[in-house]
């Protein structure tokens, strides 16, 4: 990786406050999680001050400024719900920065909205799943939750809860080791 000219670094530092997080990381708004991570790594290689030890103080300050924005962009975009909240912010106005606590709070809200389902059928099957859980019938709960997911295929909370349930089911299934049967 070639070092970047100091002029370019300083120029970037002055405008980085106006760039949105996708621009900061030089990725398309449609980038997937892997591309976001790779972009973060690439930007770190490019702008971490350790690459420019011989640089003057102003350049190093500019690098620090860029690095901080790169980290911020990554921290928001790497999480699906934070990213969704950020995309909404971008659409709604001229803001390009989102404070992490706000991003996290918005993500938390989304999570709780999603948890119980957003469509009538999603909600219905989620309610059934919950009832199954009360009875500790994990397999039935899993079935109902999977059904709920078919109505809301993008519901990340359902997906997470399904994973959780799968673990539960696996954990509660009796192990069939011959010598354990009494």
């Amino acid at each position: 990786m070639a070092a970047i000219a100091t002029g370019e670094i300083k120029a970037l530092a002055t405008i980085i406050g106006d760039l949105n997080y996708y621009e900061v990381l030089s990725i398309a708004p449609s980038a997937d999680a892997n591309q976001i991570k790779n972009a973060y790594y690439e930007a770190s290689r490019k702008y971490r001050p350790i690459s420019y030890l011989a640089a003057d103080a102003a350049t190093r300050l500019a690098l620090e400024e860029i690095s901080k924005r790169v980290t911020e962009a990554y921290t928001v975009l790497r999480n699906g719900r934070r990213r969704e909240a950020y995309d909404e912010l971008l659409k709604s106005g001229d803001q390009v920065r989102m404070q992490l606590v706000d991003a996290q709070a918005a993500a938390g809200k989304k999570a709780s909205e999603e948890r119980e389902g957003k469509t009538p059928n999603g909600k219905r099957y989620y309610a059934l799943c919950k009832a199954d859980l009360q009875r500790q019938d994990y397999e039935a709960a899993l079935r109902n939750l999977k059904t709920a997911l078919t109505f809301e295929p993008t519901n990340a909370s359902f997906k997470e809860q399904i994973e959780e349930l799968k673990k539960k089911v696996a954990a509660t299934k009796p192990k069939v080791h011959g010598y354990e049967i009494r």
Partner: protein
């Protein structure tokens, strides 16, 4: 002559120094040929100061003047639990210094913790110089990932006092990962399991070729190899008491012997199925005749004594994995760090937990220093042609050519996280999160705050690190005042506070009033720590030069004095007045309504504590506004004042 930069693992129990030279990592041995040196400092009657193994040998004979485990105290407040614990365990005198700081009293002299650490660093520097045959001035020093800003700053100060330019404060687990993965082009997720003498740290990292990204880090600062010793000590002392009717704990000398024996048993069990303790005439019985202690301890006994300690490490691992949004099975490799990880008991348990045999190809005692050395080298590699003053002529032509085009560095890019949430104190005794723990650094965040009362003249910005919403349950980092803004009704003055955590994990905070553009800024300085002036004084007084090194090469420019120099500093207080008055300019969180602030912008923050860094599992019932709570009642206030009532009072109610 090439300029070298070393990597130093400044450990609680042991320290280690390494260097990357001609593309090879070398761990540098001390004169005894050991790769690790005890982090112990012993003050002799004649003014000489011993560091390392010679000092450790003094623990039994002169425990009052022999300082071990000083790292547990560095960057702490005198009122912290750590101090109480240390006072119970160690025989050296721990007294209160200025600003709730800690001093070690040795005869009639007082030493600040960074000064003690500087003596160890100086010895490590001397070891390096003896091996390299030239002066070394630059170093990367490692700290536990879990160190807060105060502890990091104090460690940096120690480096300065030792005459080192601290290139970087690096987290130990990150260093370990670098030592393991550097130059291998790996693409892996790693867990670093570091069980030291007194602390436990676990970090989850992802390596992508030359990038080392820390995904999460968690720790327990009250869990380490020493706790394993304690279990053996308890067993032996209890059995002895039952059999012989004497309590070994009541005799300091006997107890030190037992402690040493217990540690040896533990170490022996790393290599053998059982270990025998045999201490002849350890103590006199009730009849005045000497009694001996003899007992065989098997691995099984040891395992059952310490099972819960091992389980506690996995609680921390659970947390770290959850914060990294991973499950144990997804970890590609486990690296062990720290002396106790030599125990088969630990190795097996760790293997079972991660469902993976831990890597044993790196030495758990050396891996951290090795990583630090690799990182240190990348700081000098780029400047390689830069001449020192002495060799200026020889290097001049080269350096002119390279000044404009820095060479591509053989670097590892370390993307670390902050281990603790950064918070600001607001009205009501709360601490609002600004930067959540396990957020990558460097990072900058800002928040808008408003005044709490009409016509308020100034605000006090109090900064904390920790995971509690209650301000006083966190570690106070420092505070500063901001004034001179317009007078207005409560909440109408808008103050923007900017928080920054740099790549070393060090915190900067500044406040401004956007309307007038007025700015107040400060680097949060260790409130219990040393001022720049104090550091300069310590350097000028140069007590660290009394360290009688056993290393061969004399340090350039050093005058060796064997007698203590006449001290320009105040003598130590007598026992009766062992708490020198503290200065009042820092009252660490005592509420003053006239300077209080409230959070202005946006929604009330959630308590993010239970959330993973990726935002799962937010508690949803907990949302409603905090604001009603902010109405102060005097009860809270006085309680608060109580909590910070300093100096010489009953410490047991000082902090929860």
């Amino acid at each position: 002559m090439a300029e070298y930069a070393i990597g130093i693992d400044l450990g609680t129990s042991n320290s280690c120094v390494a260097i990357l030279r001609d593309g090879k990592i070398e761990v540098l041995p001390n004169t005894y040929g050991d790769h690790i040196t005890a982090s112990v400092v012993s003050f002799r009657e004649n003014g000489e100061i011993l560091v390392g193994n010679a000092a450790k040998a003094n623990i039994i004979h002169d425990p009052k003047h022999t300082i071990s485990s000083s790292k547990r105290l560095i960057g702490r407040y005198f009122f912290s639990d750590e101090v109480k614990k240390a006072q119970a365990i160690y025989s050296y005198r721990i007294v209160e210094g200025e600003n709730h700081g800690i001093r070690i009293q040795v005869r009639n002299e007082l030493y600040a913790l960074p000064e003690i650490s500087a003596m160890i660093l100086r010895e490590m520097k001397a070891i390096a110089e003896a091996n390299l045959g030239q002066e070394v001035r630059k170093a990367v020093i490692t700290v536990p990932a879990y160190f807060n800003d105060n502890q990091r700053q104090a460690t940096k100060d120690a480096g300065r006092i030792a005459g080192l330019e601290v290139l970087r404060i690096l987290n130990e687990p990150t260093a370990a990962a670098v030592a393991y993965g550097f130059g291998k082009g790996l693409s892996q997720k790693l867990a670093i399991y570091d069980l030291g003498g007194g602390t436990f740290d676990v970090s989850i990292l992802e390596i992508g070729d030359d990038v080392f990204e820390v995904l999460s880090t968690c720790g327990d600062t009250f869990l380490g190899g020493d706790d394993f010793d304690d279990r053996i000590i308890d067993l032996l002392a209890d059995e002895f008491l039952a059999a012989e009717g004497v309590n070994i704990r009541s005799d300091r000398y006997a107890f030190e012997k037992l402690k040493l024996a217990a540690e040896n048993v533990k170490k022996t069990l790393s290599a053998q199925q059982s270990a025998e303790v045999r201490i002849p005439d350890i103590i006199d019985g009730p009849d005045g005749l000497p009694r001996s202690l003899q007992r065989v301890i098997t691995r099984d006994t040891f395992a059952s004594l310490t099972q819960d300690l091992v389980q506690r490490t996995f609680k921390v691992c659970d947390e770290a994995l959850q914060q990294a949004n991973l499950i144990a099975r997804e970890i590609d490799g486990v690296i062990l760090v720290g002396g106790p990880t030599r125990l088969p008991l630990i190795r097996d348990a760790v293997g079972a937990y991660f469902q993976k045999t831990p890597k044993t190809d790196v030495d758990p005692d050396e891996v951290v220093a090795m990583g630090a050395a690799i990182h240190a080298a990348s700081f000098v590699a780029v400047q390689a042609p830069a001449p020192t003053k002495a060799s200026a002529t020889a290097g001049a032509t080269q350096s002119a050519a390279s000044a404009s085009a820095p060479a591509p560095p053989p670097s590892a890019f370390l993307l670390d996280v902050t281990p603790l949430s950064l918070r600001i104190g607001v009205a009501g005794g709360f601490a609002e999160t600004i930067i959540d723990r396990n957020t990558p650094v460097p990072i900058e965040q800002s928040r808008k705050f408003g005044t709490f009362q009409d016509n308020q003249e100034s605000v006090k910005i109090r900064v904390y690190q920790g995971e509690s919403r209650t301000a006083t349950e966190n570690e106070p980092l420092g505070e500063f005042e901001f004034s001179g803004f317009k007078r207005a009704r409560r909440g109408e003055v808008e103050i923007e506070v900017k928080f920054e955590i740099d790549s070393d994990g060090i915190v900067n905070v500044s406040a401004s009033e956007p309307e007038t553009g007025k700015v107040a800024s400060m680097q949060i300085r260790l409130s219990s720590g040393l001022s720049d002036d104090e550091i300069s004084n310590i350097i000028a007084e140069d007590r660290t030069s009394r360290v009688k090194t056993t290393q061969a090469t004399p340090r350039p420019g050093e005058t060796r004095t064997s007698a203590p120099s006449a001290s320009s500093r105040p003598a130590a207080p007598s026992a009766a007045e062992s708490y020198p008055g503290h200065s009042d300019d820092l009252d660490l969180g005592a509420d003053d309504l006239a300077q209080e602030i409230v959070l202005l912008d946006s929604e009330p923050t959630l308590d993010l504590e239970s959330s993973s860094s990726d935002g799962l599992d937010i508690v949803d019932g907990d949302l409603p506004s905090d604001l009603p709570d902010l109405e102060m009642d005097s009860g809270t206030e006085s309680e608060e004042e109580d909590l910070f009532a300093p100096v010489g009072t009953d410490l047991s109610k000082g902090r929860p």
